[in-house]
């Protein structure tokens, strides 16, 4: 099971990391996706729906939905923030390639970017080691 040590994780099987490239002094941007464990459990994704771009959401609020062949699963905000981007690779109107989440859950298969309300919120999330304990 692939669990990069640099990421933060949630009990809902999501990962989050700061995106230093687009973060500025005024705004910290984080990237969110689902874990390798989550994509394996879900199986092939057929659709990723995110209709919350531009919305300010609280921690644990639903920001989207993933459809696998066998099941539908909601996606939850790991921390509070404003959704600023949905991965165009997954978007039906653009890349239309939800399978990217299965192939590269921590890279090209990222799901959204958010502007964090408070970058310190990340400290309350799970480390790779903590998350390993959740799934084993």
């Amino acid at each position: 099971m692939n669990l990069p040590a640099k990421l933060k994780y949630t009990n809902e099987h999501e990962w989050i990391k700061i995106d230093p490239e687009v973060s500025t002094d005024d705004q910290t941007v984080a990237i969110i996706g689902i874990t390798d464990f989550a994509q394996q459990e879900l199986g092939e994704l057929v659709y990723v729906e995110v209709e919350t771009v531009g919305e300010q959401l609280a921690k644990d609020e639903v920001f989207g939905t993933v459809e696998a062949v066998k099941t539908t699963s909601d996606l939850f905000m790991p921390v509070a923030g404003k959704v600023i981007a949905f991965n165009p690779e997954l978007n039906e109107a653009e890349g239309d390639n939800p399978g990217m989440v299965n192939e590269e859950p921590y890279a090209s298969g990222w799901i959204i970017k958010i502007a964090l309300d408070n970058p310190a919120d990340l400290e309350g999330l799970l480390s790779a080691e903590d998350y390993q304990a959740v799934i084993s």
Binding site: G43, V46, K70
Partner: protein
């Protein structure tokens, strides 16, 4: 948790295992869509040894089968099979099943013998149901535990199986079967049936034989046979609009509501539920099972509500998936009388949003 004789083989192939009807079963080996396409285009092999098998044997075997089954087993010659259901006393379905009329080699003079193949989840319930109604000179023998079942399905199934079998597979027409020897295993019941709509065969044999046959078929570098799990079994059956017990049919649904009028032979004078079905046929049923295609890429799931254009609740989704062949979400569900017309626009409520869908004729795959 029960296992099948092939559990270690599935694990060695890297299958994702899942509990199903009390059995540890392979859900998927590679991906559902790869396995699905293998069956549609070439050949897939499924371990479905969890299915239950009963032998009904005796001087009045036919009488028992006729009483409990909606289809007419009197039309079966030796070597023929039929799809049927076991109606309950209030017009619902105890189970759906295949009925095989077996040869009479092992029978005493005047006896007949049938094999009933039932859903794994219903083995105990069915057995009890049969025993309760067996007031006949006949025996019911549960051979589920010692009987394995492989489904070899797809347009290339005959080509893949033929090298292991002496008889010409072309001689086995749809819904007929033979006892034959496969890979040195005697007494394999080879049946031209399946749950995929892709053609092919089902092989019933002892657990020991099933392992030998599995190993032979998957041995070597055979690129033309793909092990397939329950995930693909579900997408394949749903593309054909085949009912799944527990989803599309159950104790409360009538075969006439489920579109199974063709296996409900009202001309047969006596069988469970007949009077109720006669009345339903005369007055019309209150709901109908329909197939629908969803316009958005959201997959309909069991339990989602079905609404008409005016947002009035007209029914429930019973099965749904993403069809790998059509590359669209498809589903089945019951809608109130009058709403089952082909082309009717409906809405599927996920709880959070409404999906546009259109009622279509099944099978989804033409």
């Amino acid at each position: 948790m029960h296992v099948t004789a092939l559990t270690s083989r599935h694990k060695a192939l890297g299958a994702k295992m899942t509990p199903f009807a009390g059995f540890q079963m392979p859900l998927v080996y590679s991906t559902v869509s790869e396995e699905h396409q293998a069956v549609r285009n070439a050949c897939g092999i499924f371990d479905v040894s969890h299915m239950g098998e009963f032998i009904i044997k005796g001087r009045e075997a036919l009488e028992l089968v006729q009483l409990i089954s909606s289809n007419d087993a009197a039309t079966l010659d030796i070597g023929e099979a039929q799809y049927s259901c076991l109606p309950n006393h209030h017009g619902g379905i105890v189970d759906d099943l295949l009925i095989y009329r077996l040869d009479e080699d092992q029978c005493a003079e005047g006896e007949q013998s049938f094999m009933l193949v039932v859903n794994a989840s219903n083995i105990e319930k069915d057995l009890q149901w049969l025993e309760t109604h067996n007031r006949f000179d006949t025996r019911i023998i549960n051979i589920s535990d010692k009987t394995g079942l492989l489904a070899v399905q797809g347009p290339k199934a005959a080509e893949v199986l033929q090298p292991y079998i002496e008889m010409d597979l072309k001689d086995i027409s749809y819904y007929t079967f033979r006892k034959t020897s496969v890979e040195g295993c005697d007494n394999v019941l080879l049946s031209a049936t399946g749950y995929t709509g892709a053609g092919g065969f089902e092989l019933y044999a002892t657990s020991e034989s099933i392992v030998k046959i599995w190993d032979a078929l998957l041995d070597g570098q055979r690129a033309d046979i793909t092990p397939c799990g329950l995930g693909a079994r579900d997408t394949l059956r749903l593309e054909m609009g085949y009912c799944l017990y527990g989803n599309d049919i159950d104790n409360e649904t009538s075969p006439l509501e489920a579109g199974l009028g063709w296996i409900t032979k009202l001309k047969k004078p006596v069988f469970h539920g007949r009077e109720i079905f006669l009345k339903q046929k005369e007055e019309g049923v209150v709901k109908n099972l329909v197939g629908f295609v969803v316009k958005d890429r959201r997959v309909p799931r069991k339990g989602y509500r079905i609404m008409n254009g005016e947002d009035i609740d007209i029914g429930t989704v019973t099965s749904g998936t993403f069809s790998p062949t059509l590359e669209k979400p498809i589903g089945m569900g019951y809608v109130k009388r009058g709403y089952n017309k082909t082309g009717q626009e409906i809405l599927i409520s996920t709880g959070r949003k409404s999906l546009q869908a259109t009622i279509v004729k099944t099978p989804f795959l033409k």
